[in-house]
């Protein structure tokens, strides 16, 4: 088996005996957005994980081709196929509801705090934000982006919150370690006033 793999990898002899890339493509296609872990891939192909990794990389390379419309991405610890970002404009034409359900600023702030500080209680989140945070927590829970991961010690035994697998999926992260580093730099005055272009257009019209 490893022999075929090598032959295929080097692409010199096309014995066409086992077409790993094609098989992997079939598997990933069928798995859809459930994706496949390296372990699953290795198991089904009956190769070891290092070999499976190599096949994944080979297929990934093919997808880089300009002619291809899909990509092999790693999200939430699994490999899955997804359309290329640059084609989003065409896909939007096919889609019913314009714009995804994006999170509000309050939800994003709360989520950021939970993501970087988990496990954390609501009270601790509120101390950082300086405002009540019940609603954002509720929204985030119902969207399965956070979950309670236990109880804090001490009086009240408050819920501790952490992020979920859906969190990784939602933001397209491989794993929690992939979160961008928290910025410590503070001097730059670049907090934009979040001027929405869309709004600005109207802005001019009403001469606010």
């Amino acid at each position: 088996m490893p022999i075929f793999l090598f032959q295929h990898r080097e692409g010199q002899t096309r014995l066409d005996i086992i077409n790993w890339k094609g098989i992997l493509e079939s598997l990933l296609f069928a798995a859809g957005d459930e994706g496949l872990s390296l372990k699953q891939i290795a198991g089904v192909l009956e190769v070891d994980e290092a070999e499976a990794q190599e096949i994944v990389l080979n297929l990934q390379k093919d997808y880089k081709n300009h002619d291809r419309g899909i990509d092999l991405v790693q999200i939430a610890e699994v490999y899955q196929l997804a359309t290329k970002k640059e084609h989003a404009v065409y896909l939007k034409r096919l889609v019913e509801a314009p714009g995804a359900a994006h999170l509000s600023q309050a939800a994003l702030e709360t989520l950021a705090i939970i993501a970087y500080r988990q496990p954390i209680t609501r009270v601790e989140i509120e101390e950082i934000r300086g405002v009540k945070t019940e609603r954002p927590i509720h929204t985030l829970s119902s969207r399965a982006l956070i979950k309670d991961v236990g109880r804090a010690d001490g009086t009240g035994r408050a819920y501790l919150y952490g992020t979920t697998k859906e969190f990784l999926d939602y933001f397209g992260l491989k794993s929690i370690d992939e979160l961008p580093a928290l910025t410590e730099k503070i001097d730059e005055t670049d907090i934009q006033d979040e001027a929405d272009l869309f709004f600005e257009k109207f802005h001019e019209k009403v001469e606010l």
């Binding site: 957005d33 899955q80 034409r93 950021a112 993501a115 933001f171 928290l182």
Partner: protein, 255 residues
Amino acid sequence: MQYNVKIEAFEGPLDLLLHLINRLEIDIYDIPVSEITEQYLIYIHAMKEFQLDIASEYLVMAATLLAIKSKMLLPKYEEEEDEEFFDYEEGQDPRDELVERLIEYKKYKEAAEDLKTLEQERGLMYTKPPSDLSQYAEEDRADNTRLDVTLYDMLGAFQKLLRRKKLQKPVTAKIARQEIPIERRMEEIRGMLSSSGGRKNFNDLFPEMERGHIVVTFLAILELMKRKEVSVEQEGNFADIFISAQRGANEVGHH
């Protein structure tokens, strides 16, 4: 349809303070407390003017700012007292705790921005549901497998499903949506107000869920507020908002 319109454009007093610091181009490590307190209070006052409910956190922060301000005005001990004795006190700037909180909050506010970017990027990728593989399964061996999922796994799967973009059945011809002129929408709102005794639930002014329409309606209300033809009332956080016609406004209106 509930709007849950949040009166505060800011995510709380810390967010407001950061906004002021940024706008006034102040060094966060050396905040001129008098100036920022004054600006902060102007904001609170403006909110009151517009009869908007102010969350208690904002008032607590106002008190904090005033307390810091008064502490800053106290004569400094270090000049007249023994340095060593007051060593601990000396390092203690009354602003320290606030600065620390602001910096901590700012860190996560920026992280939230990063998440927003990731969210947008991810939104550009479209996925497909797992295929139905029944034809490949000879018999269902489900019975001997362990169930080890949680409610969150189920919810997560469902959210993923909801996020999966639904494709339109027939591709509808792109009809350029008629943009409603703001003036016309203002006129409609005036009409709606006068036919309902001059007061109307904010939500009722948005009968259509179409983005363009919502925005035009917002802007129309904004313009009416600017012209002092209407005022906005809300009884409490998350309570319904009402729009009221200002008496006599129509007669002196712009039409």
